[in-house]
């Protein structure tokens, strides 16, 4: 069904595209909401991705790749949104990364606010990989396909993303891997 809808959308059938967008919308919102940590921003990113999908759908050579392509548009929109937001002078409460070792296990330690702050300290690229892996449940190969990066880079981003979270939560002083992209 999806295949047919994509082909119809490629021929300019807006109702077919509406059906595709409606089917994907809530999942896209949930992913964007988790990457950007903000409902309004997520809504904007999803809208940007869907507008671009409609505009560019004729360029999609393999209709069967529609879902992966839509994911790619969405994470690109999230990345762009995060970079635009970075232009605004915002200040997050700083985290002490040298605090004493917590005595309980990590699940007890990691209250939501700290996780939120630690997660927001990651670059949007690392956040995206963590969300696609731990929330969507995609394997590294598919994440690499969506992001246009090799699976090895996905693996290293997952590895360093987790280490950065642990460091920010005070479990260890290990090297985190994430510097926000400096807009190069």
């Amino acid at each position: 069904v999806t295949f047919e809808l994509v082909e119809r959308a490629q021929r300019g059938d807006h109702e077919a595209f509406d059906a595709l967008a409606t089917a994907a919308y809530h999942r896209m919102y949930a992913i964007a909401r988790r990457i950007l940590r903000d409902g309004d921003a997520a809504e904007d990113a999803v809208q940007e991705a869907l507008v671009k999908a409609w505009r560019e759908v004729r360029g999609l050579r393999d209709a069967g790749a529609f879902d992966a392509w839509l994911h790619r548009l969405l994470v690109n929109a999230c990345r762009d949104h995060a970079r635009r937001s970075r232009r605004r002078p915002i200040e997050l409460p700083s985290l002490s990364i040298d605090r004493e070792e917590p005595r309980d296990d990590l699940a007890q330690l990691a209250d939501r606010d700290e996780l939120e702050r630690a997660f927001l300290e990651l670059s949007v690229e690392h956040r995206t990989v963590l969300v696609l892996s731990h929330y969507v449940g995609l394997p590294a190969s598919e994440i690499g396909q969506i992001l246009g990066i090799p699976p090895g880079t996905v693996a290293s981003r997952l590895h360093y993303g987790a280490r950065a979270m642990r460091a920010a939560l005070g479990r260890t002083n290990a090297v985190p891997a994430t510097i926000p992209e400096p807009g190069r």
Binding site: R33, R34, E43, L50, V51, E56, I97, A177, I179, P182
Partner: protein, 416 residues
């Protein structure tokens, strides 16, 4: 420990809303109805095979060839007269070298934009992201061997490649070359603090860790930058006093002296980012809260440069021009409503509009690089399934499509 962290992350990420607001969906659908689809004729790979779409057919037509030759001769004469009548540009310090590209897991070079690709590095694994050192003598690239990515540095001809130990580097993309290509600089976390680290390319040489306090949060870390000609000076965003302002400073590697370039007032402190030296080494550009500025290297003469907003290229090599996007998208996400324009960085003088974008046959690039002699631009146009490339003349605005497909981000060597 990793499994535990992964589980905490997975549980936490599964909290929260699984669906968006209904009105959000309606707004999105309404937005798509306000725009048209990109015309099919701009997507030749969609309706004819890529090989045919990208290939240029040679047709044997003697009369046409003669006419073309006459027209070409006339054009050359006219161009020579035009160029001769223009004021002479000051000579640039750089000449064009080869262009490095990544394709099918190997590194290639071409002598000119769109030119034939010659293999340069064809090692095991997937090689990508080539970058030349500022003096053109070294080439860095990222190698993925299936287990992970790591950084390689070779001579510019592809020989003598060495693997750079990743520790304490954080990522294979977050570093910069020294002017002579003999060392790399990055920011690492050491003993709980962020530190500027310089790693010689020679694996046997020792790391240098600089004694300068950086912001505590990765969110405010900027890549430090070597002075373009003086390897003893680096430009760095630092926070010299805990909870103090995050400013822009020049650090002298020989003496440890710190020179203040910009130090915003304490309290409300906007971002200092996008920092770079101008090629003359006498000026610095940076953004403060998103507003671009230029300042002399001694910290004097700071001025805002509105012309640099929305820039999509690095500075030209003579430090006078940049490509920016102008125009406002009236529909979020519809980036067709824009034009790329070459502007003088001080906003004075003429602007050259590139012949691509809205209303043009050629879609504009998302990013551009300058040739070392500043006579050409190469643009990358990412599509969802491939990337294509453009060549632009920054003096006339003429844009042509290149025959390259999916060659990554090109890196243009300054001829040593």
């Amino acid at each position: 420990m990793n499994e535990s962290m992964d589980q905490v992350l997975a549980d936490w990420l599964h909290e929260g809303p699984e669906s968006g607001p209904r009105e959000g969906l309606e707004r999105s659908l309404a937005a798509t109805r306000r725009i048209g689809q990109r015309p099919g004729w701009t997507l030749p790979e969609r309706w004819i095979p890529m090989e045919l779409a990208m290939a240029r057919t040679r047709v044997q037509r003697p009369m046409l060839a003669i006419v073309m030759l006459v027209l070409l001769t006339a054009a050359v004469v006219a161009a020579a007269l035009f160029v001769g009548a223009r004021p002479q540009q000051p000579p640039l310090p750089f000449r064009n070298g080869v262009i490095a590209l990544a394709k099918d897991g190997d590194i290639f070079v071409a002598d000119r934009p769109g030119g034939d690709l010659r293999p340069l590095v064809a090692g095991p694994g997937n090689d990508q992201s080539p970058m030349f050192s500022p003096d053109g003598t070294r080439l860095a690239f990222v190698r993925d061997d299936g287990q992970g990515s790591f950084l390689m540095v070779a001579d510019a001809d592809g020989t003598n490649a060495v693997q750079i130990p990743l520790e304490p580097f954080l990522d294979t993309s977050l570093w910069s070359f020294a002017p002579d290509g003999r060392s790399l600089m990055t920011v690492a976390q050491i003993d709980g603090a962020k530190r500027v680290v310089i790693r010689p390319v020679d694996p046997a040489a020792a790391l240098t860790v600089l004694d300068i306090r950086l912001p505590a949060s990765w969110m405010y870390i900027e890549d430090p930058r070597f002075h373009p000609t003086n390897p003893q000076e680096i430009l760095v965003v630092a926070q010299l006093v805990p909870d103090g302002p995050r400013g822009l400073y020049v650090y002298d590697l020989a003496t440890g002296a710190i020179r203040t370039i910009v130090e915003p007032a304490d309290g409300f402190t906007p971002y200092v980012d996008d920092v770079a030296w101008l090629p003359d080494g006498e000026h610095i550009i940076y953004s403060l809260g998103g507003d671009p500025h230029v300042v002399a290297a001694d910290g004097s003469g700071d001025q805002a440069l509105d012309a640099l907003k929305d820039r999509i290229s690095p500075l030209s090599n003579d430090g006078t021009r940049i490509v920016v996007d102008v125009g406002v998208a009236d529909v979020p996400g519809d980036d067709s409503h824009q034009r790329s324009v070459v502007v003088p960085i001080d906003g004075e003088g003429g602007r050259v509009e590139l012949a691509c974008g809205l209303g043009m046959k050629i879609e504009c690039a998302w990013s551009w690089i300058w040739s070392p002699d500043d006579s050409m631009l190469i643009g990358t146009v990412p599509h969802e399934t491939s990337s294509t490339y453009l060549q632009a003349d920054p003096d006339t605005g003429r844009v042509t499509e290149l025959d390259w497909v999916d060659v990554g981000t090109p890196a243009w060597q300054r001829a040593p």
